[in-house]
C-alpha cells in the first residue's frame, strides 16, 4: 500500500512535466493547427536559460541576493527569455512559410528541423559536457506515513496545477483567449473582424514557450542534469500525451500528461521494468483505438 501511494506521488511529479510540455503543444496546435515539434527542445533551452540566469545571479555577489530571492527572480526571467526564443522561432521559421501559404506539412517538417538546430546548436556552442543547476532551494525530504516527498516535488505538482488553472482561465474567459479560439475557427475571416492575427499567434507562442521554460527549469531542479538532448524524448512523449488527451484541448493535455505518467510508473512498478514502454504505449494504443481523437478531442476533417 505504501509502495502504491509512493508511486502515485512519483507519477504526479513525472506527469507534471508531461503536462507542462503537452500544454505548449496543445496551445499552438489549438490555434494554428501546427504541431510544433521543436517544443521539446524549447523545453531544453528553458532549462539552460534557467542555468545561466541562476548561476549569473548567484555569481553577482554585489547584489547580495539570498538563494530564495535568486529563485524568485530566475522563474520570471527564465519564462520571459524562453518565450523570446519561442517567438523568434515563430518569426524566422514559421511565419515566412505561413505568409507564402505553405501546406501545414512543410511547417511541421520545419519545426522538426528547428528542434534539431536547437539541439545541435547547443551542442556546438556549449559542448557535450553536462551541467547541473545550482541548488537554489535547500532540498528537504518529508516522510509522511512512509511516503517520501521533497519540497521540490510538491512545488512541481502545484505549479502544474496552477498553470493549468490560469491557462484554462485565459483561454475561456478573456478577450485574448477568445481571439485565440477564433484563430483556430477561421484564420481568414479573423482579420476582417479587426483582430490582429499575428499578435494573437505571437501571444500563443509566448505562452507555450514560457510554460516550457518554466517546465524546463523545474525539470532541471528535480533532475539536475542538463544535456542538449534532454528535451527530445520527454518532448515526444509529451506530444503523445497531448494527442491521447485530445490535441488542441487544454484539459486534454493536462489529463493526457498525467495519464501517461501514471501508466509508465505503474507498469514499471508492478510489472518487470524491462517492459515499461512496451506496456505503457500498448495501453495508450488501446485508448486511441476507442477514441482516435483523444479523450477530449473532437473529430475534425483534416488533421496531420
Amino acid at each position: 500500500m505504501e509502495v502504491f501511494a509512493q508511486n502515485i506521488v512519483n507519477a504526479l511529479q513525472w506527469g507534471s512535466f508531461y503536462a507542462l510540455i503537452a500544454l505548449g503543444y496543445t496551445l499552438v496546435y489549438g490555434v494554428l493547427l501546427l504541431i510544433n515539434f521543436a517544443h521539446g527542445d524549447i523545453f531544453m533551452v528553458g532549462a539552460y536559460i534557467a542555468f545561466f540566469v541562476s548561476t549569473g545571479l548567484l555569481g553577482m555577489k554585489g547584489l547580495g541576493l539570498s538563494h530564495i530571492q535568486v529563485l524568485a527572480l530566475t522563474i520570471p526571467l527564465t519564462m520571459l527569455l524562453t518565450s523570446c526564443v519561442g517567438v523568434t522561432l515563430e518569426r524566422i521559421a514559421y511565419r515566412p512559410l505561413r505568409r507564402k501559404g505553405a501546406h501545414r506539412l512543410y511547417v511541421v517538417i520545419t519545426a522538426l528541423m528547428c528542434g534539431l538546430i536547437l539541439e545541435n546548436g547547443n551542442l556546438a556552442l556549449l559542448g557535450a559536457s553536462r551541467r547541473t543547476l545550482p541548488e537554489m532551494l535547500d532540498k528537504v525530504v518529508y516522510s509522511i506515513g512512509g511516503i517520501a516527498v521533497t519540497n521540490v516535488k510538491i512545488g512541481v505538482i502545484f505549479t502544474a496545477l496552477l498553470v493549468f488553472v490560469v491557462l484554462q482561465y485565459i483561454v475561456t474567459r478573456t478577450r485574448i483567449g477568445m481571439a485565440m479560439r477564433a484563430v483556430s475557427w477561421n484564420k481568414f475571416a479573423l482579420p476582417l473582424m479587426g483582430i490582429p492575427l499575428d499578435r494573437v499567434i505571437v501571444f500563443t507562442f509566448m505562452m507555450g514557450s514560457g510554460i516550457a521554460g518554466l517546465g524546463g527549469m523545474l525539470f532541471a531542479m528535480s533532475y539536475p542534469m542538463l544535456d542538449p538532448y534532454m528535451g527530445a524524448m520527454v518532448g515526444w512523449k509529451a506530444f503523445i500525451a497531448a494527442v491521447v488527451g485530445g490535441i488542441g484541448d487544454i484539459r486534454g493535455a493536462f489529463v493526457g500528461g498525467f495519464l501517461l505518467a501514471f501508466v509508465e510508473i505503474m507498469v514499471a512498478a508492478f510489472l518487470p521494468s524491462t517492459f515499461r514502454d512496451l506496456f505503457a504505449f500498448s495501453i495508450l494504443l488501446l485508448i486511441m483505438w476507442r477514441r482516435p481523437t483523444g479523450i477530449f478531442g473532437i473529430a475534425q476533417t483534416t488533421k496531420i
Binding site: 525530504v141 517520501a148 509508465e264 521494468s273 524491462t274
Partner: protein, 386 residues
Amino acid sequence: MRLKIIATLVLVLVMSVGAQAAQTIKIGFPIPLTGEIPKVGEGTRYAAELMKEEINGQGGLEVGGNKYPLEFIYEDNESKPEMAVTVTLKLIERDQVIALVGPQSSRQAVPAGGVADEHKTPLISPWSTNPDTTKGRPWVFRAAFLDPFQAPVVANFATKTFNAQKAAVLFEISNDYSKGLADDFKAVWEKQHGAGSVVAFESHGPKDQDFSAQITKSIAAKPDFIFLPENYSFAAPIIRQARDLGYKGPFMGSDAWGSAELMNLCGDGCKGQYFSTHYAAAGAKGATKAFIDKYQAKYGYEPDDVAALTWDSLGIILQAIKNAGHVDADVVNMRKLVRDNMAGIKSFDGITGKMSFNADNDPIKCAVIVKISDEGKFTFAESVCP
C-alpha cells in the same frame, strides 16, 4: 598553363600523401566525444595527445633504427552502437589506420570489435569489460579486466564492508556492459547468499530520466545496499532520486562510475560510496604518478581511469610495433604485423598495474575498490587481485 598548374598540384598532393603514408604511424580512435558519456571521449583524447606529444617531441617512435611520427585520428561515435560501427569502418577504409584504440564502453566496443575483426584491423578497447568484446575475435584486444572478475570483487567487498545479505540491482537494459555486469553480479550474489538474496533486479532504458518507480520498488524490498553497474551519467541521477525517495543506505558502483565528471553531476549524494575500478589516482607512485602529474599540469584535472587505460593501450600498440622491428608501407601487412606482435606480448607493465594476457587477448590484472571521500576525491580502499 592552367593544366600545368593543376598537374603540378596533383603531383605534389600525390607525393605528399604517399610520403605521409610511408612515414607516419596512423592510429584511429572511434570514441564518444558527444552523447551520453562525452567526458570519456575527452579523457581518451587528452591521454592520447599527451602520448603523441611526448613521442613526436623525440622525433617519433623508433622502430628498427628509423623514427616514425605518430598520427592520431579521432572520430566521434556519439556514444551510440550504430555510430561506433560507422566511424570504425570509416577509420579502417578511408583513413587506412593500422590500429584502433576504442570504443570505450562495451555498448559500442562489442559491435565495433566485430567490424575490426572482420576487416582484419587490430583494435584495443581500453575500458570495455564485457567478455563479448574480445570473445572469438583474434584481432580484438583490451586493457581492462572482465566483468566476470569484477562482479565477485564487488560482491565480496559489499558482504564484508556493509555486512550485507540482501542486494538490489538497477541497470540499463540496452547497455551490454550494464546488463552483463548486473547478470554476473546476480549469479555471484545468489551463489553466496542463497536464492532470492537479490531482492530487486530492476532496469531502465537508455533515454530515461525518471527512475522513481524502479527505486521505490527497490527500497520497498529493503536491501542492505543498492548495486548500480551504470555509466556515471545514470549513477548520479539515480543516487539523487533515491535520496529524495528516502533511501539512506549505501550504494556500490562499478568501473563506469570512475569519470572525472561524476562528482559534478552527483554532488553530495555520492560522497562515502564505493565503486570498483582500474586504478586510484590518489596515492599513486612511479610511472603512474608521473602520468597523473603531466595530465593534471596540462588539462587542469586528475585523469580518470579511461585516460590511464588509454595510455596503457597505446603503450601496448607501440610496444607491438617496436617488437615488429620494421614498419611495413603496406597497410594490410602492417595491420597483420601489429596484431601478431600484440598477441605476442605476454605481459605488460602499465600505469594501471601489471597485466598478463591470456589466449583470448584479455588481460589478467588487479582491480581497485575506491571510496569517494568527503572532498569528492577517489581514494584507494582496497586492491583485489585474481
